[in-house]
Amino acid sequence: MDIFGSFSLLLALIAAVYAIVAGIIAIRTRNPLLTKSARHAGIAVCLLVTLAVACVEFLFFTNNFSMAYVAEHSNRDLPAFYKFAALWAGQEGSLLFWSWLLSIYAFFALFLNRHKHPELMPYVGVVLACIQLFFLTLNNFVANPFQVLGHAGAGGALTVVAQADGHGLTPLLQYSEMVIHPPMLYLGYTGFSVPFAFAMAALLGRYPGEKWIHITRRWTMVAWGFQTIGVLLGAHWAYAVLGWGGYWAWDPVENASLLPWITATAFLHSVMMQEKRGMMKVWNVWLVFTTFMLCILGTLLTRSGVVSSIHAFAQSSIGTWFTTFLAIVFVACLLAFWKNRDYLRSDNQLDSLVSRESSFLFNNLILLAACFAVLWGTLFPVFSEWVQGTKISVGPPFFNKVNVPIALFLLFLTGVGPLLAWRKTSLDGLKRNFAWPLAGGILAGVIAVIFGMRQIYPLICLILSVFVVLTIAAEFWRGARVISARSSINVLAAMGQLTMRNTRRYGGYVVHFGMVLIFIGIAGSAFKQDVQQDMPPGAHMKLGPYDIVSQNFDQVQTPNYQSERATLEVFRNGKSQMILYPERRFFLASQITQTLVGIQSTPLRDIYLVYDGRNPETNRPEVHAYLNPLVKCIWFGGLVVVLGTILALIPSRQPVLVISQATERAVASAGPLPQPVGVVHGQD
C-alpha cells in the first residue's frame, strides 16, 4: 500500500508538470485539444493525490507500524476517529493534506468552469498547477509520508522493521474539535489559491471586463468562510483544551492564520469599489496576491518553527523551501503586475469624504494597518535577529494596544459604511439613517455607566455594537416593510423574501451582525475573574456569585489513558446548579499528561474549572476556577458569520431594482422583470 501511495504521489507530480507545460503551449498555440488535455491533467492530479491520501488512511487504520509516519502518530488503542485525524498530526501528513485540499479546489475550479471563460481558464489551470507542483515536490522528495522503518540488511537490501505499537497521537490533538479545526483552516489557506490563480490569470491574459473579479470574489468568500471557521475553532480549541482560561494569546501560529483572513476581508470590501465604480484595481489585485502569500507564510510559520510557538516546536529544513517559494511567488506577482500595469488603470476618482468609497478606503487602510501590526509583531524576533543580532519578541500588550482601537474603528465603519451612498452622502441622508441608531447606542452607554461600567474600551464597544445592530435592523425593517405593504405578507416573511432577493447585501448584513456578536464576546473578557486554591473534598471556593464545593476525586482507566478526575459542585444562592468534572489524563502511549477543563457555558457567562493536580507544597488537590463572561457570544457570532457567508453565496432570487446615481453594469439580467422594492440608499 505504501508503494502504491508513493507512486500515486509521483504520478501526481508528473501530471502537474504536464498540466503546466501543456497549458503554456495551449495558451501559445490556442490549440483546443491541448487545452482540454491540460485541464484533464489538472483534474487527474486531484484523483492521484486522493489515492495517496486514501493509502495513508489505510495504513493508519490497519495499524501498519512499519511506516514511520504511522508509528510516530498513532497506536493500536487510539480511537478510530483520531486515527483518521492523525493524517494531519505531523509534517509529512499535513503537507500531503495541503496538496490534497488544493487539488480538490483545483478540481472544482477547473471542472465547474470547463465550458466557461475559454480565454481565462487555461491560465488558471497553469497557475494552480504551479502551486501544486511546489507542494507535490515537498510531498515526494522532502517530506514523504510513505517512509518505512527499517535498516540496511546484508547486501544493502532494506529490511523492514515493524514496531509492535506506535507512539500515539499527541494528546493535545485528541479532542473532537481537533478533527475539524485543521481541515477548516487548511480549506481556508488552500482556498485562497483559487482567487490568486484567477487574479493572476486575468492579469497575464489581460482578460477584458470585470467578470474575473466576480469569480474571484465568490471564491474568496468560500475560502474566507472556511478560514473564519478555522480561526474560531482554533480559538475554541485553545480555550477548551489548553486550560489557561483564554482563547487568543497572539501566538505566532494563531497570528499566521489571522493574517490572510484580514487581507481577504479587506479584499471582499474593496472589490465592491471595482465592481461599482471601476476603482482600486491595482489595490485589489495586490490584496489577492498578498492574501495568497500570507497563506504560504502561514504554512511556513506553522511548519518550520521559524518563530517559536506552541504549535511549531519542530525545527526543520522545510523553511528554506517555503521561503524560496514565497520569494518566487513575490517576484512572479511583481513581474506580472509590472508588465500589465496599464490593464489596471482606474476609471474613477474619489468624490467625497462622506461616501461609500471613502468608508471602504478607511476600512481597507485600517485592516491593512492591523495586518501589518500583527505581521510585524509576529516576525519581529526574526527581523531583530537579522538587524541587531539579538532576538527580541513582543507580547500581547503590543498586539492589544494596536488592534483594540483598530477593531473599534472597524466596528464603527461596519455601522456607518453600508448606509453611506456611493459618491456623496447628503447631510439629510446621514440624519435619516443614523439618528435613531446613534441615540440607541448612546442610551445603552449611559445605562451601562449608571450600572457601574467604567472601562473605556468595553464601553465604546457596547455603544458601537448597539449602534451597528440598530442600523442593520433598520435596514431589514425598511426593506421588509415595503415588501409586506406591496404583497400583503407579514414583516418576518417579507424579511426572508428581502434577503433572498439580494442575498449578497443582506447576507453581508448577517455577517456584520455575527461580527458584532464576536466583538461583544471579546469585550466581555475585560470582566473576567479567577480564583486558584487548594480544594480537598469538602472545601469551598467563592467565584463571583457562585460557590464551588469539592465533592470527590476519582480515577478513570481506559486503554488509551488513565485519568484523575475532580467532582465539583457549583452552587448559586444555596441552590445546586451543576456538577463539573475537570480531569487530568495521562496518555499511556505518549506518556504525556493533559488537562481537561470542566466548562459550563451559558450565553452570559462560562464557568471554567481546571484541575491543576496536587499542589506540590501542600500535596492537596488544587483547582483554578475562571468566570468568563460572554465567551459564548464569540462562538455563536462565528456561527452567524458562517450562516451569513453561505447566504451571500446563494444566488439572489430576483434582481432588485435599485435606484441610485451610480452606473450599474448589466449583471445577471436574465429572469423575470425586476420589481421595484422602493428606494434603497446605495447598493450592496
Binding site: E72, V161, A162, D165, H167, T390, K401, R584
Partner: protein
C-alpha cells in the same frame, strides 16, 4: 481642500495614532532572547531588560519550596538558577530533562526571576530518530527520514 487630500489627512492621523500606540505596546512588552552563555557577557542596562532564556531543566534540580519553585537550567555546561513564583501551575511537560523557556528578569544576585515558564517535551514534538524507544525494544532506524 480637495477630497483626496482630506482623505490623506484622515489617514495620516490614523496612522500616527496607531504608530504611537504600537510604540507604547512595544516598549512594554519587548523581550530579549538570550542564551545562557550570553548572559555572562551582558552589562549595563541590558541586564535590566525583560528576557527569555531557553535551556534544559537539570535532572533532579526541581525544588518545590514554600511560595515558589526553584530549578536549574543547563545549556552547554553553563547553569542558571531560576526562581518561579508565578500563579499559574507549571506545565505538565515540565520535568527533569525537559527543554524549558523562561521569561522574566535577571536578579542582582545572578539568579533568574521567571514570570513565565514554558516547557516542551522534546520526544513528542521533534521526531528525533534516536529517542524514546518503544516498549518492545525493537531496534529502530529511520533510513529515509530527513527530519
Amino acid at each position: 481642500m480637495k477630497t483626496p487630500a482630506k482623505f490623506l489627512v484622515g489617514s495620516g492621523i490614523i496612522v500616527v495614532t496607531l504608530l504611537s500606540l504600537a510604540y507604547v505596546g512595544f516598549t512594554q512588552s519587548k523581550t530579549y532572547y538570550h542564551t545562557l552563555s550570553e548572559i555572562a557577557t551582558l552589562h549595563g542596562s541590558a541586564l535590566d531588560q525583560r528576557m527569555r532564556i531557553g535551556g534544559d531543566v537539570q535532572d533532579g534540580s526541581i525544588q518545590h519550596l514554600p511560595g515558589h519553585v526553584e530549578f536549574v537550567l543547563v545549556e552547554q555546561g553553563r547553569t542558571l538558577t531560576v526562581n518561579y513564583a508565578g500563579r499559574d501551575p507549571l506545565p505538565d511537560t515540565f520535568k527533569g530533562g525537559a527543554q524549558a523557556l523562561v521569561e522574566g528578569h535577571l536578579m542582582p544576585d545572578g539568579r533568574f526571576n521567571a514570570e513565565q515558564v514554558q516547557a516542551k517535551c522534546a520526544s513528542k514534538y521533534e521526531a528525533a530518530p534516536t529517542q524514546t524507544a518503544p516498549a518492545t525494544g525493537a531496534k529502530q532506524t529511520y533510513p529515509n527520514s530527513q527530519s
